[in-house]
Amino acid sequence: MSRKSTLMLTFVFILSIIIFSAGFVSAQRNIVSMSMNQDIDTIDPSKTTDWTEAMAILNIYDSLVIPNPDGTMAPLVARDWDYSEDGLNYTFYLNEGIKFHDGRELTAEDVVFSFERMLDLGQGYSWLWSDVVESVQAADQYTVEIRMQEPYAPFISTLPWLAILNKELLLENEVDGDSGQEWLLENDAGSGPYKFKSWDRGTELVFERFEDYFRGWPENPVDEVRARIIYPDSTVLSEMRTGNLTIGDHYREIETYNRLDALDGVNIETAQTGEIFYLKMNTQKAPVDDIHVRRALSWAFDYETFNEFISPGTEQAQGPVPQVIPGHNPDVFQYEFDLDKAREELAKSDYEPGEISIDFVYVEGMERQRRLGLMFKQDLEEIGIELNISSETWGRITDLASSVESTPHITNIYSAANYPDPDNYLFSAYHSSAAGTWMSMEWLQDEEIDELILKARRTMDREEREAIYHEIQDKLVDQAPSIYVYSLLKRYALQDYLEGFEFVPVMSFEYDFYKMSIAD
């Protein structure tokens, strides 16, 4: 080897050592990092929609109440509340001495401001309240009074979505009357257990512990959280193995969790969730407008095979309200795979076997849904129903849903839990006034169901209300507007030194780092 190339090699060698060592930063244990399969688009609480954003808001802001693992609500900023018998007036009594991250005290004025900002901007989760809340007022410094347009019994369980903003701070940073929208792109105005530290869009969001948090801190808390956007499952696997990641999120393939489970020091948590996967049938379009055809389809779906082989690790859903939601009817009828029963139902319909042809639409790129279609097609052929499988982009499906004529016979729809109340699943899917979105592709338009859903909304007594919900669930399953394929099991990969992780059946509220701690 010539002298020149030896020199060159030495140079390259030294350079690579410098690069490898100089930029090395090691992981610390009280800093927790989690993966996310999705970008965060905004950290403005009045605009958030996705689970990643919900995770950020939950940790940076406080709300009046916070959901318990069983789906009921616990006090947070509000230490107590009561409501009038007619359900039109709510009064919330706030905790005193809650500090925002800038040191100001949280008062009733801030709650009023947050509500008004949410409704004025009309984005994010404002749909929860835009048609039900009449006015919000501060009775005194620590009392908030809310007047409703109409009784709305699930109201309390929607309140975790109302993050309380620091009014004065936002008004100080207002540009052209935008109520701080510009400023909130890169800052926080919260009182939550964590405060915003940095945000490298498309890569990671970092928030750090807020020392003066009003609920105090237990021992060995999580000091800093890095929420990192990681798309490939293999990267999650690598980073979990090396300890660079503390939490692997819940949107990974089952094989990935099996491999993660095999790693030393990594545990897999599993939780039954409030998220449902449906096959929605357009009840206004022949031939699925015929109740017997819909029942036949419900009997002809092979739930077991699907949940075992095509989507391993999911469980057949029992009716339209998931098991983890308070108000679920445990006695509701569950269809099972039985082609004889399907043939019986079909015989009662106006159609002969062999003359039914049904369009089946799944979301472009969803392999699992495509395989579901193929399985379903094969079984349906045996009872003389033809299934035409096609895929559409998600954008196209939202378009198709806007009119009865364009809504396909069957559409694959997956829906998340926004608030832990049966109303969340029933109103937006089956009430006539909610028709025209992807959640309501059944076009049910049934007066009796409409009436019952509204009646439940007006019934303030918990038990009475649950009885109505049980009745609705029975009636819906009888009418079979949707095939309830599965309720999702969520899996999480956690390093074993992380303690206190607990599943909560609202969106992504289980990523509550205040509850977690680091083992010694």
């Binding site: 410098i18 690069i19 490898f20 100089a22 930029g23 090395f24 930063v25 800093i31 990092s33 970008d39 688009d41 905004t42 403005d44 605009k47 929609t49 009309g122 984005q123 989760y125 404002s126 749909w127 929860l128 835009s130 048609d131 929208q181 792109l185 940095s198 490298d200 869009r201 498309g202 890569t203 990671e204 970092v206 890095r226 990192r228 956007i229 990681i230 798309y231 490939p232 293999s234 990267t235 696997l237 690598s238 980073e239 193995r241 090396t242 559409e392 982009t393 998600w394 954008g395 196209r396 939202t398 378009d399 806007s402 926004n418 937006s428 025209g436 979105t437 992807w438 959640m439």
Partner: protein, 340 residues
């Protein structure tokens, strides 16, 4: 025709092409299925909310009116609001474009310092074991998609060896140097922040190397072919007979004319990577403009989509223009033939 005139003509063509591109993309982005306002507000938004957003975005106007509105705003430097990030698209582009540009600059560096010497050596040692080895290597590099190579790198250097970071641009513990270009490694270097500089190099190494593989393969093959062609020329034989050392002949006298076809490839690689780096950006969580563009497409974020395509188009044209300039400098015949 004068060379200068030729260049001017190219410049004018570029503007026309850019205009055409804007029309096409505008129409395409407006006919993609999905209502942008509905997509932005989610399924639960009321009809009034959706309608209000449509009004404020001008979506209720005719296509021609919308286009004129868009172009007039564009000349004022207003790219419109992104529905996803809820800010002006220009702000987003300023953020994401440098990240991709930085990645591509390092990619091109790899292509030049690995691909070109590989080609030269292959040509000098034609049909030897080295040549065959490089041939195999080049072909595999061209056929294997860059993101597969990227995933393989992650598994080797992250999962198995755990010596390299496999996501992001910088370790969370460090904060980037004050922004000048937006390209972290250059900003750090200019301001003498060496820890950040080396850390960002570590983050850049795997994605840029993975991204450069197809380029390396192509460039080494093309360099080899044109080196062989140049090698048959009389003036090279003359140099050999004068006893000029092989290394000097290969790398100086032969490479200069043989480099021209490679330059073309490098230029095209540079421009096309802007849009095509998507999968690598996805795999390495790199906040680049290609990823931003694809997300905009999926979420029907029309303004962001327009912005990204126009930007990539402009860079494409600019690169072509610069390559024309460089070709003229490297090869006088290009200049002179235009002066007939």
């Amino acid at each position: 025709m004068k060379y200068i005139e030729y260049l001017l003509k190219r410049l004018i063509y570029s503007v026309v092409v850019l205009f055409g591109l804007s029309v096409i993309i505008f129409i395409i982005s407006r006919v993609i299925p999905g209502d942008p306002a509905r997509m932005a507000l989610g399924p639960h938004a009321t009809r009034e909310q959706v309608e209000a957003l449509r009004q404020s975005m001008g979506l209720h106007l005719s296509l021609i009116e919308q286009y004129i509105m868009y172009i007039t705003n564009l000349f004022r430097g207003d790219f419109g609001m992104s529905l996803v990030s809820r800010r002006n698209v220009l702000v987003d582009l300023k953020l994401y474009f440098p990240a991709t540009l930085e990645l591509i600059i390092y990619t091109i560096i790899w292509v030049v310092i690995i691909g070109v010497p590989m080609g030269v050596v292959s040509a000098a040692k034609k049909d030897s074991k080295v040549d065959n080895f490089f041939k195999t290597l080049s072909f595999s590099a061209v056929v294997a998609p860059a993101f597969i190579i990227g995933l393989a790198f992650q598994l080797i250097f992250g999962y198995a060896l755990n010596i390299m970071p496999i996501t992001g641009r910088l370790s969370s513990a460090l904060s980037a140097s004050p922004r000048i270009t937006g390209m972290l490694s250059f900003d750090a270097l200019i301001q003498g922040d060496f820890q950040v500089f080396f850390n960002s190099l570590r983050h850049l190494l795997l994605p840029s190397l993975a991204l450069s593989m197809p380029g390396i393969g192509q460039v080494s093959r093309i360099t080899r072919a044109s080196m062989l062609e140049v090698g048959t020329k009389d003036y090279i034989s003359v140099m050999h007979s004068y006893g000029v050392p092989d290394g000097i002949i290969n790398f100086i006298y032969m490479l200069k004319p043989a480099f021209i076809p490679s330059l073309n490839i490098i230029g095209m690689t540079f421009a096309s990577l802007l849009g095509n780096a998507f999968l690598i950006e996805q795999v390495f969580s790199w906040p680049g403009v290609a990823r931003y563009g694809i997300n905009a497409l999926l979420k029907v974020d029309v303004n962001a989509l327009m912005g990204v395509v126009l930007l990539i188009g402009a860079v494409f044209l600019a690169t072509n223009f610069i390559i024309d300039l460089l070709m003229g400098l490297l090869d006088p015949r290009v200049r002179l033939s235009e002066e007939d």
